[in-house]
Assembly symmetry: D2
Homo-oligomer: 337 residues x 4
């Protein structure tokens, strides 16, 4: 049997939409603390980007009555690649549809994960053009590094809560060409979490078993610093300004991320990614599987404390009753990173 | 015209061979200071790897009468991809040949750049198997992090001196699927340097105009830390133990690398790479071109001092006469990173 | 009333003695992981120092049947200052005695804290003289920075468990000229911990209420890195080599230390100090007092997780029964840093 | 002969006054980039402080027609200590005078160095009181860490250009109790630079031979980060916003400072201090002397590039003619840090 070659049709995670019931406070967090730059605000949503994000936006921050994730936007590797992936999804028995009029990118194919998380796949994008005073001398930098807070460089990945990790992951593998890089399985049972990528990054998307909700929710969105020291500076600031740090700065075994998880004021969990973790260049990568024998001894946290109980049950939109019940029964087993 | 899709047939830079006329001292540098682990030594060559290099070796250190680079080893993305690239090279009018009996990898296709730098392309590799006492609990780490020096994680890239940057680069682009990420062109003349990659890294290989030699030489081999602080620790140690630091720690504009260049005791220039630089996920990347107006104002060094004259004329094997002449004429214009 | 001027008669914490029931493993920890250099070993004790410790030793590591602290050694500011402090102690009603024959320093005045912790105060010291191959070009560095582990620079402070924080602290203030920089008092009751210094450091010594033992024990000895990144490197190594990290790397509110607490293989808690914290230059400093309202919201840990229960009850020598009892009653209230 | 005990009558460098011909730009630098907080502005001078500076101000920024240093302010260790130092200065044959009405501190004794640099010595200070919204939960922090730029923590030291290093230094040693920690002497000739402190810091003040001017000028004022990573972040920002970096980030051998020198827009050289260097606790410290054999091999720069020629001739107020002449003669020998 010949070696199964990787499909390279999805290029990158390009943008995500977050809902917030506290827009002003959320904007302060993303703008003043994470140093993101707004491109425009249409009254319903504000579009922001990190200073090395190249397109119109990487974050669409939408006023809403509750927290959660709206849309996850992927850029295809080429117009042809886009067509190939659409064909695959259409053939999967779970077709989507083309949508137009999206701010920041052109015609997109809209579909959902088996759990229902909305996804956009597109080719045409609007590049960010910095005004003269924000132009950087660094050709690879889309704009000057801001003087606000501890600025993030770019969007990194998204972690989605779902009812069935294997099923949702398989959908991405079959139809979009994702590879499963690491996962967690306790006692030979169902996958509790799995990490998927189309690039040397360990993940652009992860799925985590939703133990305190119905699935189709958000675990977290991650922005990238690539720098340990900036994480410590950010942690110092978050404490000063009363932003809740859920865990970290600390290092995961899974993905080797130097991480910090915070709740932005609207309630969504945001991860800040403080190094590169490790990169996968081996084309014959086998999924790394953590189990109960090593996940709690290095897998979840390699160093820097423990992941609190909330890390395994909290997601957005918030499901208070289910979360309380899950915690009370003390049967939470969910590793999520 | 349809969008030209990227070829993904070369997966990664897997290993390089360095010649050293001072084997013991070079071994001390790579083993005691860079913390690399030897796999075996056959009397002619010693094979070493960083603690996150996954294969038999990333560095073949060969006893020789002079410094320089032997072979550059690439892993293909699949057996099929290997065949496709061989076919392309065969069709290029500059065919290579299959070679066997390589330590650490299987049958390889050997060919050269137009300048004559020897390259191996292969699929089969021997994975490093850590002995029990060196096994890491971190599943993604090939072995425990060593307790020696400031250990490097993995091989990163190679920078080759050549007589014609454009010609050598075009060969890699046409036959191996490399993309040109950045380059330097002064006054609309010939390319002075160019950086090429097959992955989101800005480069796995770069070509630099050889102004003080005949080409077909080495500018440097780079190992990766991904961590700024470790570079400062390493610099402290290098000064203590009289290893020559040529430049840095400092930050390039090109590639955004936080770099340091040192001469290993055998004479080869080694770069240590102290962060991730930036990663390229945009599938429609246009080559970034630096010229005389911005290369010396941020491109060469973004911050942290200047690149000394030697940086533009020194390479291995050393060509003393030509280097002296070039420096004397004060007409060196070569940017190399 | 005139301003009470500071007494400057004690210059620094010069050395400590630790007992270990597992000498080989403890030596591996201090030598291979913390990179300390042994000066000599008389069969009973091994004398070690960090690479910027200036004297014969900063750590006397003594083979024993149980863990714990032997002696705490202070250098006076002058011969005259030594005489003045001896006179003060003699007058305190709790006199000590002169002892000779100490390795690394001359005639010392031996006395104890009210709890019984043995102290030496002396003037004459033996300076470390690096052998030729270990001499540093850095005039202010006592020897070359070692190539082993993540080397500590110098001894920093000691934290002693005692039955009465106020009483033990007052003894140091009255007789040795220490100033109380910070303390913790819950509900207006007894001091739970207090930090004392004779220099701009926040503490060379701290006292912590011993809730799970009889007092006269060790909470921890701290060595200094002054560098956040090195703490992360050390944490990575400790995990690889199965050394227990009790807490951190994280940042205390008290003293602003970027800390990590580990158990050296012999059982003693060792703190690694990963920055400077803050320095006190204000000559009119008022003790900063933390209480139950702010100690658990920034005082104990400013960022980076929580202090585990063991942090408040574990000390050496180990008192297993009392520790279990204290934890069972869930009435531990001790903040110790 | 008895040991000469240290005088502890001067506690700290409390504030400096800088003149700027470009007030708006200088204010932007100190406020937006260094994140300093203004206390008040009386139209002539603006008073600013780092977020861990405890008093009314550490920097008095005064509108002027040229750059330079106004006054250097020292806090005495007690009222008694102030009287003792005044008596010593009065007896030195070079008396000063009492001045009142100083913003931020009470009655001060004003005197000059032999070269004429104006100094204030005082006891009474006005503590900074943060408004409610700027109060930090960290008891040892005078205010919240700002969200602007890369904020400095506190004033560190001042380096003064003078006509005779030995004479100016001796004045401080004799009358104020400073100790000489390190110095530079080439060929057994005059001191080229010397570093003095009253605390474990290597220097609160240094004198540097003024080779391109008449003396009585400023070499630089230094602010403290104590953090290497923040220096790299600041360097990145300075390049983006076109602030001139003269040298660094790099590490001095002298003082072991991880340094960066920049020209604030008004023309004054500012040092940013990116770690603790080393601290001196040995009460029997002997001055470390660098000479031509080691100053250029580790003393001036331990790692990170070279000190440019301007570093040895540029000062404020600027003396253009003399500077050009000194550079032209190529006989500059001045090490200054």
């Amino acid at each position: 049997m010949s070696f199964q070659e990787q499909i390279h049709d999805v290029a990158q995670l390009a943008c995500v939409e977050l809902f917030t019931p506290k827009f002003e406070e959320s904007f302060w967090f993303f703008h003043d603390v994470l140093g993101m730059t707004p491109t425009e605000d249409d009254g319903k949503s504000c579009y922001l980007r990190g200073y090395e994000d190249r397109y119109h936006h990487s974050l669409k921050l939408t006023r809403s009555d509750k927290a959660g994730i709206g849309m996850v936007g992927w850029r295809a590797s080429s117009p042809q690649a886009l067509e190939r992936r659409v064909a695959a999804i259409e053939a999967s028995g779970k077709p989507g549809k083309w949508v137009e009029g999206n701010k920041g990118y052109g015609k997109a194919y809209e579909f959902t994960t088996p759990d229902g998380h909305k996804q956009h796949l597109f080719w045409d994008v609007e590049y960010y053009k910095a005004p003269e005073e924000l132009k950087s001398k660094l050709l690879s930098r889309a704009q000057k590094r801001p003087l606000r807070g501890v600025p993030v460089r770019r969007l990194d990945h998204v972690n989605l809560l779902c009812s069935d990790v294997t099923k949702n992951g398989q959908f991405l593998m079959d139809n979009l060409g994702f590879l499963k890089r690491e996962n967690v399985v306790f006692g030979g049972q169902d996958e509790l979490a799995a990490w998927f990528s189309v690039s040397p990054l360990v993940h652009e998307v992860a799925f985590t078993k939703d133990q305190a909700g119905p699935g189709n929710r958000l675990h977290h969105v991650a922005f990238w610093y690539g720098n340990q020291g900036q994480m410590l500076d950010l942690a110092d600031i978050l404490q000063e300004y009363d932003v809740t740090i859920e865990a970290g700065p600390a290092k995961h075994g899974v993905s080797q991320a130097y991480f910090m998880y915070v709740y932005e004021p609207g309630g969504n969990r945001i991860e800040l990614f403080g190094d590169t973790g490790y990169l996968i260049f081996d084309p014959d990568w086998k999924t790394l599987t953590w189990d109960e024998s090593n996940f709690f001894n290095g897998g979840g946290v390699w160093f820097g404390g423990e992941l609190p109980q909330d890390f395994f049950v909290y997601g957005t939109p918030i499901v208070e009753a289910a979360m309380a019940e899950a915690e009370a029964k003390d049967e939470v087993a969910e590793p999520a990173e």
